[in-house]
Amino acid sequence: MSTIQDMGRYQYLSQAVPISGAMDRLSARIANKALSNGDNAAVIEFTYADAEFIAETDLLISYAGDGVILTSGEHQLPAGRPLFILSGAIIKLTNTPSGSRTYLAVAGGWDVPEILGSKSTYLAAGFGGLDGRALKRADILKSEQRLTESTKKILKSLRGDKVNYPGWSIAVQSFLPVDRKTIRVVRGNEFDWFDARSISVFLSTSYIVGRQSNRMGYHLEGAMIARTKKNELLSSAVMPGTIQVTGSGSMVLLMADCQTTGGYPRIVQVAAVDMPLCAQLKPGDSIFFKEISQREAEMLYIEREQELQQLTIAVQSKFL
């Protein structure tokens, strides 16, 4: 499945409109940064796509993520770099077993209307992105052509009569921990509603991403979590990264298109810096959870943002 996404829709959360946006925000931003686009420029999110594109004009594109390799004719196109593609080129996507989501950016951002302050597709209500739906055969997409000064320089330096790209690339991996199977979590507000043994099992055994997993959330298969406090919980805000424990003791990890409120107790919140790892998980993948403090999660968040800020400047400096 392929949909248009950006960094999400925040201004209507109070009306129960979900955040949506790219599942793997890090990869989506890197695809944009490689072109000196703004981070919020619309990108295409591929989930295990075997799609094919024809360039109807010369194009400056880039892609990042995990799960797909782009090729054009005999060229394997490298990820994390601006790629100059000639009109008429056929771009093929081939699945790789490592991840599940890849992002394709175009210089100036993909041109779809902004709905409620975002270009992200929200399939359940059928709005955002391209006509509120996933991309299908024969769709035509174009760039919004809002090129930054830096993007114009990249285009000028790469433009020519053949496929062209610079010698450097931005590796998504360099921002992520080496151990991609351990997800760091912070205690949720109802953490102490669960029995101590269940918690210790939760933090020491593996869980498997269930088959029933999509942009709204993942079912986590593994040891059930027992509750000691049986209170009814009044619905309140939840968000991507929240792990809820359902009535049967199984767990659901909420993802980009999740509801804005929920009534199941929240055992933990996944650290925002590890959400890109979660976004790349496939049904059947197994993961572990490791507890970190609230303060540590916040520091990791700010450090990641600082690194990404530096990256923007670094790309600009390549094309001075």
Binding site: Y12, A16, L116, V186, S236, M239, T261, Q269, R295, Y301
Partner: protein, 238 residues
């Protein structure tokens, strides 16, 4: 929790939740709404958006901007919590949130309310009586959640309390009016659903063409008005 006391807890790196209590009550709804109005009137640097719920207000922010702000505190959580604590002290001086009275016309029964007869049967009252009980009271909007524009309403007559359907429907149309337990509500979008459907409204609960797409907001009063099919069709096409 005693009246007026509240706690603030961490939801994530980008959000904290202010909790005024753990029950459904008009005074808690007022507390949530007042703080929400105050916050939008006096946002802190990095403030993003809020999610009001029954007894909580969740406040979203950009940590990069909060940490750079001059707010006192060692981390974003402390900075934002401190700010919200101070703001809450001004609550008495806050202008009340606007609360509208919204009438929702409902065509009960027939194809629009496939479960109306079952609900009447369960309570051993007539269909007319169900319609009367459902449309005679005024409801309060406590929160918007579940799907865009879905309002959790309080105030249903306890005599209509009905268990959910054993097997949820794969698809319930937009505008369907349902009851489940002590709750009643209107489905804004076509979705799967387990509530007992007793009628349908031609009014759009969520409409992207409106400035505020959700028809209802927390604090609003809702009145259901029984209409016939002729009226329904007129409103649906008008």
């Amino acid at each position: 929790m005693p009246e007026g006391i509240f706690k603030i807890y961490y939801l994530s790196e980008v959000a904290v939740t202010v909790e005024f209590g753990q029950r459904i009550a008009p005074n808690l709804l007022n507390a949530v709404n007042s703080l929400n109005v105050l916050l939008y009137g006096q946002p802190f640097p990095g403030f993003n958006t809020t999610v009001p719920a029954y007894s909580t207000l969740t406040v979203f922010y950009d940590p990069v901007l909060v940490i750079k702000s001059g707010l006192p505190g060692a981390d974003c959580f402390e900075k934002v919590s401190g700010y919200l604590n101070n703001l809450n002290l001004q609550k008495k001086t806050a202008k009340p949130a606007t609360e509208d009275i919204v009438t929702i016309p409902v065509c009960y029964g027939g194809d629009f309310g496939p479960d109306l007869a079952e609900v009447a049967g369960l309570h051993q009252i007539s269909i007319k009586e169900v319609i009367k009980l459902h449309s005679a009271v005024v409801y309060k909007v406590y929160m918007i959640g579940f799907v865009p524009g879905f309002a959790y309403l309080g105030g249903m007559d306890e005599r209509l309390s009905t268990p959910r359907k054993v097997t949820p429907r794969k698809s319930v149309p937009a505008g369907a009016v349902g009851v489940a337990g002590l709750q009643t509500g209107v489905y804004p979008l076509e979705t799967p659903g387990g509530w007992q459907i007793i009628g349908q409204t031609p009014v759009k609960l969520f409409d992207l063409n409106r400035k505020e797409p959700s028809l209802l907001k927390p604090g609003d009063t809702v009145i259901f008005k029984a209409i016939d099919i002729k009226e329904f069709n007129k409103l649906a096409t008008g």
